[in-house]
């Protein structure tokens, strides 16, 4: 009987210490509406980029004509990455934006090397980027939900 009571106390001790220290549990970063909006803005730019490229005749999809947009979007993603990186408890979202940047740079390099872009691949990558941006924005939105007490 006595042992059972001790076990119960030991089981709830960490919780009690947490409460007495005035802390709350934290696994994810605070929600940031600005970052979520920025993510969606970049998503729009990227989708417009692919839409324009796909709508351009294949023989005219020269790297030079898309270079400025590649660089502009690359910078947008890099800044988004920095903004995510400097937030506490935000490693998972930062990892996601790292992949986004990696895939964007892959496309830029491939387009530059081939000086052309396949319509089939462009259509695939357009869909993949939308999936990535959805995942990142949804992840940010989850932080908002977790901060609301039910």
């Amino acid at each position: 009987m006595h042992t059972a009571k001790i076990k119960k106390v030991l089981f709830y001790l960490p919780l009690l210490l947490l409460i007495l220290s005035g802390c709350t549990v934290r696994y994810v970063a605070d929600y940031n509406a600005e970052i979520k909006d920025e993510t969606l803005q970049i998503a729009k730019k990227v989708d417009l980029f692919w839409g324009t490229l796909i709508d351009t005749q294949k023989s005219k999809r020269k790297y030079h004509d898309f270079k400025d947009k590649y660089i502009e979007i690359e910078t947008d993603i890099r800044i988004l990455n920095v903004k995510n990186k400097i937030r506490a408890f935000n490693k998972t979202s930062t990892k996601q934006v790292n992949v986004l940047l990696e895939l964007w740079l892959e496309d830029k390099k491939s387009h530059k090397n081939n000086n052309s872009f396949s319509g089939f691949i462009a259509t695939r990558h357009r869909k993949q980027f939308l999936r990535l941006f959805t995942a990142i924005a949804k992840g940010e939105e989850e932080k908002n939900i977790s901060s609301v007490a039910k």
Partner: protein, 104 residues
């Protein structure tokens, strides 16, 4: 006032269950969306490869790329679980705090 720890613990348990029940559905739905997207993407790729529309090198690169996309989508599931756990734990702590304060 006295503190009825058994009752408080029971309430904390209810708070945790109540807190995570919607999250479980959301996580299930989003996981299904990820799997559906992945299936469609790989199907499209396989069909193009079988029809010789894309070379082996492109096929391999696209499979690897799709793996990265799915991994990144699954990181959102990780975030959803962490956020749900955070909310559940804090809801339980709030119940405990209210009970302790009321007992003082």
């Amino acid at each position: 006032m006295s503190l009825n720890i058994d009752l408080v613990l029971k309430d904390m348990g209810f708070a945790i269950i109540d807190s995570v029940k919607d999250d479980v559905v959301d996580i299930k739905n989003y996981t299904e969306t990820i799997l559906k997207n992945n299936k469609e993407s790989l199907k499209e790729l396989a069909e193009a490869w079988i029809a010789n529309e894309i070379p082996d090198l492109i096929f391999d690169a696209e499979v690897e790329r799709e793996r990265k996309v799915v991994e990144t989508e699954l990181l959102t599931i990780k975030l959803m679980k962490q956020a749900a756990a955070q909310q559940a734990a804090n809801s339980a702590i709030n119940i405990f705090m209210k009970a302790v304060k009321a007992a003082v």
